[in-house]
Symmetry: C2
């Protein structure tokens, strides 16, 4: 009998220092057959202008995913939509991670210069095949990777606020090594890992992030047979 | 200077015993000006048939909320959509709770026979004005209540799996009293409260829920000035 498993997805984000809104958008949506997709976009510029861009990209993707459209088509459609509406003049990064219960895989779609970190049974690898940002060039496609939906698998995604953190003070992060170290320290708790990675990036920017920063962690882990509850927790500051 | 606050929203749900899917649908969506809406629907029947109903209701509501449509119009539109598509033959409950940063209120829309529990500064009240399920009668409207967005405020929402729990064994829950007691025990942690209420209901059904059960808790609480991170955590069993 196969081991019982669960998926935990955790996110943490902050806006650039002294802006009222993060320009990153990050949403999750239930898939028609019970899985879940996570969509992360970082719009060009910062603050409200970036938010408007990343928001239309994420809304388009989430709506299509909820209708059962396959991930590769969703990323293409999000690109086409942004390209049409902004005339090829603004770009965004787009990452989609789906827990697909039909193919029983993790489907990772990338249109970003930020790699996705994979830690499988303690072994680190990177999904860093070059991909193109959406919104600028006609016919942009995502780079898609499928991974088995098996424990223990961790994916770590982030926007470039993480890559750029500490650039001013020459304290940039070695994100892959740091993620593996923080994962070990957090005993596999995805929220603790996302929080810790974000905290390190903010510290590298001396407490005043120079860009919007978002981190997402997807964890496929064993579960107790009796734990059959679906849970969601959202927390955000309002003033 | 006003006190700094944050909002925490927690949900927990299980399906009826021996069904593969919960017929309840529960989603959260970011509002255009940075707030958040929680949408909960319970479709008539159970399992896949109920899921199909609650899912189209929640998808319609979430899409409109993300476009900035006001809550009262969203509930009417969700009704009209279900009424049209199912010819007035199937019903669903619908609850929407919005953290509205424009009006600075909690907006609670009800089309359900389940009351919403409010605990403000330790004082309990119920939003239980009679409302009509959506999908059956022409022109159905929600009952809407606006509450100030002030700490400490807790809202507890649930589907009728909670009200019906224990009916077979004459062990029904006094939900309002129980919620207040569990809130005190959980030190204001909304996930602990949602989990505890769900657990009591499952126990009243002797470990085999006779219906889908969903619980959602919205907490408006003070925050530490430095805690400006937006977080989301989802956890679900996949086999």
């Amino acid at each position: 009998m196969p081991e019982r498993i669960k998926v935990r997805v955790a996110t943490a984000k902050v806006g650039k220092y002294a802006t009222s809104e993060s320009g990153d958008s990050l949403e999750m949506v239930e898939r028609p057959h019970g899985g879940l997709s996570l969509v992360l976009a970082d719009g060009q510029r910062s603050g409200r202008a970036a938010k408007a861009i990343s928001n239309i990209v994420v809304r388009k993707a989430v709506t299509l995913l909820a209708e059962g459209v396959r991930d590769g088509a969703v990323a293409r459609a999000a690109h086409d939509y942004l390209f049409l509406h902004r005339g090829g003049k603004v770009s965004a990064t787009l990452n989609i991670v789906s827990i697909d219960l039909v193919s029983h895989t993790l489907v990772v779609s990338c249109n970003s210069h930020c790699p996705v970190i994979v830690v499988k049974d303690g072994h680190l690898s990177l999904l860093d095949e070059p991909s193109t940002l959406i919104g600028i060039y006609s016919g942009t496609k995502p780079v898609i990777t499928q991974l088995p939906l098996e424990p223990e698998t961790y994916l770590v995604l982030f926007t470039d606020g993480i890559l750029e953190a500490g650039r001013q003070s020459d304290r940039r992060l070695d994100v892959a090594t740091l993620a593996q170290e923080l994962l070990a320290n957090s005993a596999g708790n995805p929220q603790a890992l996302a929080d810790a990675l974000l905290e390190r990036a903010v510290a590298a920017d001396q407490g005043r992030p120079r860009d919007d920063i978002s981190v997402a962690v997807v964890a496929v882990v064993p579960r107790d047979e009796r734990d059959n509850v679906r849970r969601m927790l959202v927390s955000f500051p309002i003033r």
